[in-house]
C-alpha cells in the first residue's frame, strides 16, 4: 500500500471550449470541457486540470459556468487555473465546485493571496503554478503572464517560498521543454521536488509514457501533467498507467477501464 503517483490530463479552455485537437470518437461534443473531462475520468485519470487561456476579461462568468457543470458531473478532483487574480476569483471558483485553484502570475505579484486562500479554504485548495525557464547551469527563472514576462526570481527559491506562504502543491512547467514532446526537464523537476515538502506536479514536454516514467522516478515528481499525448489520443491514460505499473511505479489501475476503446488511429497520429 502506498500513495500512488497521479496522472493528470490538462485541458486548455478558450471561451468555454477545449482548444487543442481531440480525436475521441465516442464523445458527442469533443470541444465540451465537461465531456472531455468525463472521458478522462473513464480512462482512469486521477485528476483534471483546466487551464483557462481566454484573453478577454469578460470571461469570468463562462469559467464559473464551466466549473459548475464540471463539478456537477465529474467524480474525480479538478483544478482550475488561468486568469485567477484576486481572492474574490479564488472564492468564486472554489465555491462553484472546483477542488483546487492554480495561481501563477497573481501569486508572484501578491504572495499574500496564497496565504489568504490557504487560511480560508485550506492549503490543499491552493496550487502555485510556476513557469520556469533555464537561466544557466542549475538555474531556472520564473516567468509570468503566460511566459511572456521574466521576473528575475529563481524557480527553486520561489517554490520554497510558495510552500511557506501556504501552497498545498506546486505545478511546475518547464518553458524550455513545453510543447517539445522531448520529455520533462528532469533536473528542474528533481531540484524543486527535493526542495519542498509538498507535492510537485511535473509539466511540459511529455511525448511518451517513458517521459512520464522519468518524471515520476528520476524527476521525483508526485504527479505528471500532460496535454497533447492524451488529447490527440496517442495514448489513453490507462495505457500510460499500465506502462508505469509494469515498471513498478505505484499507480491507480481501474478494475475495468471503460475508456480503453476510446482511441482513434494509431500512435503519433497528430
Amino acid at each position: 500500500m502506498t500513495l500512488t503517483k497521479r496522472i493528470i490530463p490538462c485541458l486548455d479552455v478558450d471561451r468555454g471550449r477545449v482548444v487543442k485537437g481531440i480525436r475521441f470518437v465516442n464523445l458527442r461534443d469533443a470541444g465540451d470541457p465537461v465531456e472531455q473531462a468525463l472521458e478522462y475520468e473513464r480512462q482512469g485519470a486521477d485528476e483534471i486540470v483546466f487551464l483557462d487561456i481566454t484573453a478577454s476579461s469578460d470571461n469570468r462568468e463562462m469559467v464559473i459556468d464551466m466549473v459548475r457543470k464540471t463539478a456537477y458531473e465529474l467524480s474525480i478532483p479538478f483544478t482550475v487555473g488561468g486568469g485567477i487574480r484576486s481572492y474574490a476569483d479564488v472564492r468564486r471558483v472554489l465555491m462553484a465546485g472546483a477542488d483546487k485553484v492554480s495561481l501563477n502570475t497573481a501569486a508572484v505579484q501578491n504572495p499574500g493571496l496564497i496565504t489568504e486562500g490557504a487560511e480560508i479554504f485550506g492549503s490543499q485548495c491552493i496550487v502555485v503554478a510556476i513557469d520556469a525557464k533555464r537561466a544557466g547551469e542549475g538555474k531556472w527563472e520564473v516567468y509570468t503572464h503566460g511566459g511572456r514576462r521574466a521576473t528575475g526570481m529563481d524557480a527553486v527559491e520561489w517554490a520554497v517560498k510558495a510552500e511557506e506562504m501556504g501552497a498545498g502543491e506546486i505545478l511546475l512547467t518547464s518553458m524550455d521543454y513545453d510543447g517539445s514532446k522531448d520529455g520533462y526537464d528532469l533536473e528542474l523537476t528533481r531540484r524543486v521536488s527535493e526542495s519542498v515538502n509538498i507535492p510537485v506536479i511535473a509539466s511540459g514536454g511529455a511525448g511518451s509514457p517513458a517521459h512520464i516514467y522519468d518524471a515520476l522516478t528520476a524527476g521525483k515528481a508526485d504527479a505528471a501533467l500532460a496535454a497533447s499525448i492524451f488529447h490527440y489520443a496517442e495514448y489513453t491514460v490507462g495505457e500510460v498507467k499500465a506502462y508505469l505499473a509494469e515498471r513498478g511505479v505505484p499507480v491507480r489501475i481501474l478494475r475495468s477501464p471503460s475508456g480503453a476503446g476510446a482511441r482513434e488511429g494509431g500512435h503519433g497520429s497528430c
Binding site: 500512488t4 486521477d46 463539478a71 456537477y72 478532483p77 472554489l94 477542488d99 508526485d222 481501474l254
Partner: protein, 219 residues
C-alpha cells in the same frame, strides 16, 4: 430516501451533494420523494439547522474547513441532530473532516473537543511524509461492514487531509490506509460511519461506498 448534508458554513457543498445524487441514481425507483419528477435517486437537502435535518432519513457531515469551526457549527446549529446521531436514531456518514468530528478531540490548531461518538484523538500526520496526504491511496479492509460491500481489498480512494484519527476503540476501524503511519480510512460504530477519503471524488469505488451507506441507512 432523503439525505441532509449538514451546512456548517465552511465552504462548497455542491460536490458532496451532487456525489450523493449521482451515486444514488436508480436506487429508489418507485419510491421517489418527488413523485412525478422522474427522479430515482436520493433527494439531497442542504440543512441549515435541526429543523431541516429533521426531514431527512440520513445525514452526511461534510468534509471541508477546520476542525474547531466545524465542531462549533455542529454544536451550535445541529445540537438535536447530533443527539439523534449519538443515540442511533438517524444514520450518519462523516466525510474527511466530518469523520474526524466524530472523535473525542482534535489537535488541529490547538486542542478542541469533537462529538465523542467514537473515542480517540485526531492528530497531525508525521513529519516524515509530505503533508497534506493528497491523492489516491489503496485501502486494506480489516473487517466486514455495510459500507464496504462489493469493495475489493486494496481499492483506491482519494484522500486530502493533514490530520488523522487515532481511535481508542480499535473495533471502530473498518479499513485503513498507509501513509507514514496506519490511518483509519473507514470507521463504523452502529449506524455512524466515517470515511477519511472523499467518496464523492473517488470515482466508481467512491460511488459504491455512497450507495452502500444509503442502502444501510434505508434499513
Amino acid at each position: 430516501m432523503r439525505v441532509a448534508v449538514l451546512d456548517m458554513g465552511l465552504g462548497n457543498l455542491l460536490s458532496i451533494s451532487r456525489g450523493i445524487e449521482r451515486a444514488s441514481q436508480g436506487m429508489f425507483a418507485g419510491s421517489s420523494p418527488n413523485p412525478g419528477s422522474g427522479a430515482t435517486g436520493a433527494e439531497v437537502i442542504v440543512a441549515k439547522c435541526d429543523t431541516d435535518a429533521d426531514r431527512a432519513d440520513a445525514v452526511v457531515i461534510p468534509g471541508v474547513g477546520a476542525f474547531r469551526d466545524g465542531a462549533r457549527a455542529l454544536m451550535d446549529r445541529f445540537g438535536r441532530t447530533v443527539e439523534r446521531i449519538r443515540t442511533g436514531e438517524i444514520p450518519a456518514l462523516g466525510v474527511c473532516l466530518g469523520m474526524q468530528l466524530l472523535f473525542t478531540r482534535s489537535f488541529e490548531g490547538g486542542e478542541h473537543p469533537g462529538l465523542g461518538i467514537i473515542r480517540g484523538d485526531v492528530v497531525r500526520l508525521p513529519p516524515t511524509v509530505k503533508v497534506p496526504h493528497m491523492g489516491w491511496n489503496s485501502v486494506m479492509l480489516l473487517r466486514d461492514c455495510a459500507l464496504t460491500k462489493g469493495i475489493q481489498d486494496g481499492e483506491y480512494f482519494y484522500f486530502v487531509h493533514s490530520y488523522y484519527c487515532r481511535p481508542d476503540e480499535g473495533s471502530a476501524t473498518v479499513a485503513e490506509t498507509e501513509y507514514g503511519v496506519q490511518i483509519p480510512a473507514i470507521v463504523a460504530k452502529g449506524k455512524v460511519f466515517g470515511t477519511q477519503f472523499h467518496p464523492e471524488k473517488s470515482g466508481e469505488a467512491g460511488r459504491m461506498v455512497i450507495r452502500n451507506f444509503l442502502e444501510a441507512a434505508g434499513h
